[in-house]
Structure formats: structure tokens, C-alpha cells
């Protein structure tokens, strides 16, 4: 259960890391190859978050209805459907699968 004290510590840590990243890098200090490496970081992070939120539960690998939802999302992306349709259909597919299972 969250407390006010914990909340303040969490906020300080989260904002501190964002601020550190925001103030520690500048285009003047970075050379070409490192700018390209930085540009790939969102790709790596997005892929990691998708994998973890789809295939793990409380730190352990687990396959369940979420896989169906994310597969549906990928199908919608492949068909180039709007982003709102992607997330809505993914939720509906997951909910339907849970209902069936």
C-alpha cells in the first residue's frame, strides 16, 4: 500500500532519472555513431516492454490470453489500421479469450 513518504521517495527517484537523462546528453558532446545508438534505444525499450508485459507475470514467464491480444494488435498494424483500432481490438481479443478460457 502506498504511503505519502513512499510516494515522495518514488517521485524523487523517477523525476531524478528523467532529469539526469534530460540534462546529461547534448548534441555538442555526442559524436555521430553514438547519436545513432541513442536513436535505437526507443526500439529496444519498446520491444522489451512489449515482451515483458505480454509474456511475463510477476517476474516469471507466462503464456496466456495476452498473447492473443498482442497478436491481434500486430495483425491490425500489418493491415495499417488506425492506432485506436489497434488498442481497442487488442483489448477485445484478450477479453474474449479470457471469457472462452
Amino acid at each position: 500500500m502506498l504511503t505519502w513518504g513512499a510516494l515522495l521517495f518514488i517521485a524523487a527517484g523517477v523525476y531524478g532519472q528523467r532529469l539526469l537523462g534530460m540534462t546529461s546528453s547534448s548534441s555538442k558532446r555526442l559524436s555521430g555513431p553514438w547519436i545513432i545508438v541513442l536513436s535505437y534505444i526507443p526500439v529496444a525499450i519498446l520491444a522489451a516492454v512489449i515482451a515483458l508485459q505480454t509474456l511475463t507475470h510477476q517476474g516469471e514467464l507466462q503464456i496466456d490470453a495476452r498473447v492473443v491480444g498482442i497478436t491481434a494488435a500486430a495483425f491490425c498494424c500489418w493491415r495499417q489500421w488506425p492506432m485506436a483500432a489497434v488498442v481497442t481490438i487488442a483489448a477485445l481479443a484478450t477479453a474474449s479469450t479470457r471469457l472462452i478460457l
Binding site: M1, L2, W4, A6, L7, I10, A11, G13, V14, Q17, L19, L20, G21, M22, T23, S24, S25, S27, P33, I36, V37, L38, S39, Y40, I41, P42, V43, A44, I45, L46, A47, A48, V49, I50, A51, L52, Q53, T54, L55, Q58, G59, E60, L61, R66, G69, I70, A73, C76, C77, P82, M83, A84, V86, V87, A90, A91, T94, A95, R98, L99
Partner: protein, 229 residues
């Protein structure tokens, strides 16, 4: 909420999708905290001050499984390391003013960074970043408040598949960046590293380790991912 920056690649559907997702995720997060017995005002304050779903959920998860408050706080910090990396990624193209970066840091999330980085011109990148930050944060705050009040009505957000909206949004964001082999390689490697380490290292670290796969970008120095510069 009606304004989108003109002359950029950002389209209305993307902004709405992000707003919808963060509104829904905020409701879900509020329900999780309400179920854990957290004071409603504290839930709303967490949304405003921490501005991160994963951080407060990591705390709730760690303490619910028997961990101390210190463990919970450390867990929340670890899962937030990606925000620092994302901030470092976009910072070179944002304002040089430190004061403006103080504000920009507050709203550093995955979607606004990913979509802003598509812009070729730095001025457009800044406009998209600011606009999407509003499209993301306002639904997030409103959803948190709504979640506090409807928590008793929607007792099981999992039954509605709400937990999948967040990764589904990320799939949509990632999809348009996987346009060439190296992007796909980095994405696959990032996912593999995260899944391969999740059972052996504390929560949050798998994402940090996955970020190192961006070093594969050094293999082809002239091919940044599509729409990322």
C-alpha cells in the same frame, strides 16, 4: 486537447489512441491501488507527482508480495530507468535551456519520445513532444481520478482486457520503426534479452539490459531506424 501541431507527421488518430490508452491504463492503475487499500487522495497525488504507471505499480507489487517499503521504492526506481534513457535519447534535440528541460523531464514517456523522434526538424520534434505530452498527461490524470471513483464498479479490469492496451499501443509505436533489418534485429534482441533475464534479475533491470542492444546500431553507422534521427 483539440490542437495538433501542423506540418508534422503526427496525426489525430495517433494522439487519440495515446489519450485513450493512458486514460484506460490510469483507471486500471487506480483500481489496483484501491484494491491494495491505498487512500484515494494518495492515488490521485501519485498520478500527478510521480507521473508513471510502472513506478507505482512496481512499488505495489513489491510490497504486496511481502517486500518492505524500501524494497518497493527501489523497485520503482529500477523500473523507471528507461525514462532516463529515453530522456537522454531525445534531449540533444530539445531546447538547450535548462529551465525548459526541467519541465520536459517531467513528461518523458515512451510514446511521446518515440513519435517526436520521427520528426526531421528539431522545431517540429519539440512541438510534437509538447503536444503529445498534453495528450498523454491530461487523460492520465483524468483517468486516475475516474479510476478512484469507479473502482468499485469495475472490479476486474483484466476481464475487460485493459491490461493489454498498454503493450498494444507500444506494438503500434514500434511497428512503424521496424522498416529495415537492423531495426528488426535491435527489436528482437531487446525482447530476447528482456525475456531471457526477467527470471534472474530484479524487475526493471531486464529493460535496462535490453537497452544495450541499441549498440547493434554501431554495425551500420548510416542507417538509423526509420523516422528516427
Amino acid at each position: 486537447m483539440q490542437q495538433l501541431p501542423t506540418g508534422t507527421q503526427l496525426v489525430r488518430g495517433e494522439a487519440w489512441a495515446i489519450g485513450l490508452t493512458y486514460f484506460t491504463v490510469a483507471i486500471t492503475v487506480s483500481i489496483v491501488h484501491r484494491t491494495a487499500g491505498t487512500d484515494p487522495w494518495l492515488i490521485v497525488a501519485a498520478a500527478l507527482i510521480v507521473n508513471s504507471a510502472t513506478a507505482t505499480l512496481a512499488f505495489a507489487s513489491a510490497t504486496a508480495s511481502g517486500g518492505s517499503a524500501v524494497t518497493g521504492v527501489l523497485s520503482s526506481w529500477i523500473v523507471s530507468t528507461r525514462f532516463g534513457l529515453l530522456a537522454a535519447t531525445i534531449a540533444p534535440r530539445l531546447w538547450s535551456s535548462r529551465k525548459k528541460r526541467l519541465f520536459a523531464a517531467y513528461s518523458c514517456f515512451d510514446p511521446n519520445v518515440a513519435l517526436a523522434l520521427r520528426e526531421e526538424e528539431d522545431s517540429n520534434l519539440r512541438r510534437v513532444y509538447v503536444s503529445l505530452s498534453l495528450w498523454l498527461i491530461i487523460p492520465w490524470w483524468v483517468g486516475s481520478v475516474v479510476g478512484v471513483f469507479v473502482g468499485n464498479i469495475i472490479s476486474n479490469p483484466l476481464a475487460l482486457g485493459l491490461d493489454v492496451m498498454f503493450p498494444a499501443l507500444f506494438v503500434a509505436l514500434l511497428w512503424r520503426q521496424l522498416d529495415h533489418g537492423l531495426s528488426k534485429l535491435v527489436g528482437l534482441a531487446g525482447a530476447a534479452v528482456a525475456l531471457g533475464t526477467v527470471e534472474f534479475v530484479p524487475g526493471g533491470l531486464p529493460i535496462l539490459l535490453a537497452a544495450f542492444t541499441a549498440l547493434l546500431g554501431l554495425r551500420k553507422k548510416n542507417t538509423p531506424p526509420n523516422e528516427l534521427h
